[in-house]
Symmetry: C3
Subunit: 279 residues, 3 copies
């Protein structure tokens, strides 16, 4: 099992590399939070580019060192865009992040998410209900639990999704990040539980979606998917806690949170409190 | 005619119920202000979920206790999505809110809005020109007036739309909210004129759209469409006035306004000044 | 060659006319920054309306005194919407602004941008790489340089795009604005170099897109395309510098920047430092 100090070094190095190299992590993502995703990616030191069309998804897969696919607000063209983009990413061996928003709702979403089993997303970021539902959709053994997705909100705790997250990570060989009061990140071998954050992160839209986008930025630089996902989760918990201390309500929180994402140093990000356990 | 105190109780109860039960009010809404709609819905205590596809619209109609349809930035697929969603809402007897943005512009918009006459939206939220134009499109008697829509802006005052709003409410059996310097809310029997708000609400995009989304959140809880619409209009007038006192310009106003939506109590919302008249 | 004082008068008059007449400058623009575009247009005194469908694009071309087309996040329907809208604008002789976002990526984007050569956009606003690539795509002589577009980011300096900008402006008979540390605006006869702005403008998404939208607002009022483009670039440089002095990070910068757009007077805008040279 990886030592905590070693993992912290990987997190710090990933964050420092992002600041130094400004990697572009293109996205196909929902229209609700697309602006927040882009601004969060830029705030941590990356660069953003969003597309909808199939050949543009493929071009972005080739152009960026890592990519982000979020299945919120599906458009008809995504039936073609998402599989073609994921296939190109797999072909090129590029790391990519999947946010299985609202898995279970709608025919196209189910078909697309089922299809991604083949391409094995490098990192999957979701709430507890979504991670449980995805493991179920993919028919992974040992995932346990039964999902109760309600639109885009989780109705289940992170603890309940632990088995599903571990099962997915073992299947993909990548990492899974489950968002909740304590955030869980696993590569199937270890489970990191990251602390911090803010109550206001559940009282704005987009904290989850943008976390996925930031995972992709770190995936462009990190040595392992686990380090990328933990860097993202740590900077979110750090920035969330710092921003909450400065505001009284969620309207002001958004700007304060982006400010703190921008101001966090690689050392700060590595030092955000987390527990490390065997999976 | 309902007593003012009784209406205030209904408003307070609706707002308290929303805070207690966190109802999800899914939306099909324009991309310009979609983020602001979601954040406003969350700030008052509700939950948001946005979709574009026909079967997802139907799924959301079934999943949420109330829904919001806004016809800004129409996409080709809406030709199918909106009628199917509205039909399902009617079938299920779910309350829903229509914002007839820019009625009169484009063939699809006209066709969709004409079609909604059959499903009778529970609440219609628009500016004066839009409400007049919708009554005209629906051929309602006694609506009077002639609309002069310019893009998404109103070129007419709330007073001019009073007859149209009353005629629509009598036809649908629901409520109509007309936004302006003083906001008019009617169920065809009474007219409530709500005071407050801010000049900055016309100097940002989305104060109208998000008000529609918040109407849907309250419609999930309120005993009557009138109480839901008035709760939404009142919290907007209250939060607008409070936010304006804290800022000097519209950029800062947005965050301050969301903060005040979040901080308003059910008692505050019920107590926002309004006049009550016979329709 | 136009005198600097004369150009400043034209800039001041355009800004004053916008404040006095609240012109609507409709847009077909990307979903990433669509909200920011609308709010920036409103902040300087204009009005916004966004559409996607072909007949709505044509209706907006007829309804507004000027229009904005930005080719980010292309949707399938744009294949029809953008040529029809541009054709109507040309037919009506209305000024319009093109932002050739990420020129070179994707088949549809290339085809659309190549096609716009015929309609001659009144103002083109892009970063250095985009302007060089557009001049190249249009096969303009004397444009020089070779483009290296990376997603939506420029990898080249404004100086490198000077020849391309001048060549485009001479071809269209309009103006070209190249965004960078110093912003270049040219009508093919003179080159204005506008100073100010903020490092944070590159650390948020949408400062370029929204500048295009604001160019369209001023184009509705200005006597010349050069005056419109320079008014927009000047108010951006002024507001950027003022906003930066008030914040420490890009999250807070966005609201502060919109505030300063709103607070800038026509005299302030005309007085923002710029150099004027022969092209």
């Amino acid at each position: 099992m990886i030592e905590k100090a070693e993992l912290q070094d990987l997190v710090r190095d990933a964050a420092a590399c992002v600041r130094a190299t400004n990697p572009m992590a293109p996205s196909i993502t929902n229209t609700v939070t697309i602006n927040f995703v882009a601004n969060a990616q830029i705030a941590v030191g990356g660069s953003a580019a969003m597309v909808y069309l199939p050949d543009e998804g493929e071009a972005m897969a080739a152009a960026g060192p890592a990519m982000y696919i979020n299945v919120g607000t599906l458009l008809p063209i995504y039936e073609e865009t998402l599989p073609r983009t994921a296939a190109r990413l797999a072909e090129l061996g590029k790391p990519w992040v999947l946010d299985p928003v609202a898995v279970g709702i709608g025919e196209m979403r189910t078909k697309l998410l089922a299809g991604f089993k083949e391409q094995k997303p490098t990192i999957i970021r979701g709430n507890a209900s979504e991670v449980i539902a995805l493991a179920d959709l993919w028919g992974l053994e040992g995932a346990g639990g039964e999902s109760t997705v309600r639109g885009v909100d989780s109705t289940q705790g992170v603890d309940e999704a632990r088995a599903a997250a571990v099962a997915i990570a073992r299947y993909t060989g990548g990492a899974v990040a489950v968002s909740g009061e304590v955030d869980l990140v696993t590569d199937g071998e270890v489970v990191a539980l990251s602390h911090g954050g803010s109550q206001f992160m559940t009282q704005i839209t987009g904290s989850g979606c943008s976390l996925g986008g930031v995972c992709a930025v770190y995936a462009a630089c990190a040595k392992t998917p686990l380090a990328a996902a933990l860097a993202a989760v740590n900077v979110y918990n750090l920035a969330g806690a710092r921003a909450e201390a400065k505001v009284k309500a969620p309207g002001s929180f958004q700007a304060a949170f982006l400010d703190e994402l921008y101001l966090a140093t690689p050392e700060d990000i590595a030092a955000n409190p987390f527990d490390l356990e065997e999976a």
